[in-house]
Amino acid sequence: MNPFEYAPALESTSIVTIADRYKLFINGKFVAPRSGKYFPTINPATGKKLSEIAEANSADVDLAVKAAREAYVKVWSKLSAAERGKYLFRIARILQERAREFAVLETLDNGKPIRESRDTDIPLVAAHFFYHAGWADKLKYAGLGDQPKPHGVVGQIIPWNFPMLMLAWKVAPALATGNTVVLKPAETTSLTALLFAEVCQQAGLPNGVVNIVTGAGATGAALVNHPGIDKIAFTGSTDVGKLIATSIAGTKKNATLELGGKAANIIYDDAAIDEAVEGIVNGIFFNQGHVCCAGSRLLVQENVQDEVLAKLKVRMSHIRLGNPLDKNTDIGAINSAAQLAKIKELSAAGEAEGAERWSPPCDLPAAGFWFAPTIFTGVSQTHRIAREEIFGPVLSVLTFRTPQEAIEKANNTPYGLSAGIWSEKGSKILWTASKLRAGVIWANTFNKFDPASPFGGYKESGWGREGGRHGLAAYLKAGK
């Protein structure tokens, strides 16, 4: 028994007010859905209902798209670029002022630890708005000619793993480049997007520039297929990404897709081992492993495998799983019952295929959705857990003997979103990075994000880039 058990240190929830029911945000106002339907949103850490969310049908989506079109034609496209930038700066400042409120609400609705929503998600959200606010009147330096033009009305669909951060990645560049937006948050995590709608009102953003339609797959399909949409921006699963690509084929619609991943995290024998172990933990257990660019395949050089795994197991025994509102929690709740079932199914497949499963001693809370941090050793390339995206706190450990073998194994996947390289030898890092087929490559770190840095995938991990100067290209048409 450890004498230094940390007493509960709960973040207060008194800063947030959650309504019994949420309507759609269309043309600057909260309006009841034409569908008349609402669905529950729950706290995944308790399983209890937090509120009810409107389910937008195609009539609701149509209203939202029309509002966005009108706002684009009559207001937003007429505004000077500097004025557009001012609105973004104002939104960014309000997000900073209300950061604690957003962090607590995100943790309640998503299940992620307050340490991450407070220290990572929400600060990055504000940073994305500040960064893109600065671009608004400098677009002629984006490398797309002297007068690049917006597409018009953008339909954006975002996932549940980083609800506010993905909103920021989508909305900030769209507005900075002069587009108007219809956004659909994920059905399990709509609350912070709806709080963001309040921020748009508070900032005095013109009506219809940002519209938020809540709902599940059918709402997303209505948005994708609406003829009034000029561009689709989607982050989510590769399966849905393929559906979107199919349904917009033959239309004038542009698309950026940020899809799944099965990133290789390569540990060479000359790595700084202790920090590499930190990087493994950060790569796969950050945000419960609900990260498209998670380092879910550990490729460790065989001659240091024992040392790395021994240290990893010690480190994992210090991971604190539990109430996401506790400031000392490292791993929170799995976002939904459906996601938990998928993680359990793939983990069972890993055992059935002969990989060895290990988790540190870990008490899982009785209510809500939980999964202990888990590693599989003895995994080979043919195993499902080495090929399919698990999107949970589950690491597959594979080994390699030479740098060439590491590259071959790392690239042997339909995905290509991210990768990590750990070595104290600079030339080896550069050589490896040049051979890896992945959009984001981290050297001696993992899961680091910055609004100035483009993000996106190769192969089935997606089309286009988000963030940085490259990300602007997704929301602009080149023009002289």
Partner: protein
């Protein structure tokens, strides 16, 4: 046996140690600094930290009166509350050891060891004969702990054998009469790679404790430095089954910093190190802040600093 005592085997061994990535260590230390220690765990941490303080006075202006005063404080840190534990040790210069020892014995502090800084502290720039005599004097005067400094000049010029041999010889002088703490003076070693190498050098040469700093050089006991040293003692235990202690010293002035140190110990070396036998904090001003925080937990409000004694 990990090494023989030759310079070449030492060099070869130190070369096998994994490098330290400073950015990664800083990030880990910053993350652990966000741990929020409240209520019962805070109360435990404050009392544990008090029991780990090496209450220190290392001034040219030290006098017998000053040393007697800190001895009284060491035995009963808060004279109004006898539930406050005594500190881990009293740490003084060589010539004050006798006064400290006799004072402690007279006032009920027999169990509190006197630690003496030795080997031409703080610079270590003297002949070995002088360093040896310094150590013998301290032990003869009743020091149960010797805080020696390594020869940083020898270390930085790659003469690891010299550094090693000096520690071995001082350890021999300590025998079973005194524990040996080896001060790395990490502020002069500068890089975390050097901190890791020097930690192993000291442990292999027979240190009972590795200590960050003299307190005379800044930066001293920063969280990244302590983290790397805690990793070293953890890994050395895995290798040899010997638990070596760690003593951060210098710059830890308030309760928050002390609790952050205990979090580092807990989550890097492990809870086995959460004892004064394996973790000490070299400090002077820290003790009063711990006492004020303890009063706050007891009474529910902050007391004026006038309610704790100066020394």
């Amino acid at each position: 046996m990990i090494i023989d005592s030759s310079e070449s085997s030492l060099k070869a061994f130190l070369q096998t140690l994994p490098r330290v990535d400073e950015v990664g260590v800083n990030a880990r230390a910053a993350m652990l600094a966000t741990r929020s220690i409240k209520t019962t765990s805070k109360a435990w941490a404050i009392d544990t930290a008090i029991s780990m303080v090496d209450l220190t006075t290392l001034e040219g202006a030290d006098t017998p009166g000053k040393v007697r005063a800190i001895c009284a404080k060491a035995v009963r840190p808060d004279a109004t509350d006898l539930s406050v534990p005594s500190v881990g040790a009293v740490c003084v210069y060589n010539d004050m050891v006798h006064i400290a020892r006799t004072t402690l014995d007279q006032i009920g502090g027999k169990a509190i060891p006197v630690a003496a800084v030795a080997t031409a502290f703080p610079s270590g720039r003297a002949s070995f004969a002088v360093k040896a005599q310094d150590t013998k004097d301290a032990i003869n005067a009743g020091a149960a702990e010797i805080d020696m400094v390594i020869d940083r000049g020898a270390f930085l010029s790659g003469r690891y054998g010299e550094v090693f041999d000096e520690i071995v010889k001082i350890k021999e002088l300590c025998g079973d009469k005194a524990h040996l703490k080896v001060i790395l003076e990490t502020g002069e070693l500068v890089t975390l790679d050097n901190v890791r190498k020097a930690s192993y050098l000291a442990m292999l040469a027979g240190a009972d404790f590795i200590k960050t700093s003299t307190g005379k050089v800044a930066p001293a006991a920063t969280a990244p430095v302590v983290l790397v040293m805690l990793e070293a003692v953890r890994d050395y235990f895995a290798m040899t089954k010997f638990r070596i202690g760690v003593k951060p010293a210098g710059g830890i002035r308030n309760t928050k910093d002390a609790i952050k140190q205990l979090v580092l110990v807990n989550e890097v070396a492990g809870p086995e190190w959460l004892t004064p036998q394996l973790f000490r904090i070299g400090a002077s001003a820290l003790l009063n802040d711990l006492l004020l925080q303890r009063m706050k937990m007891r009474d529910g409000y902050y007391a004026s600093p006038s309610y704790v004694t100066l020394d």
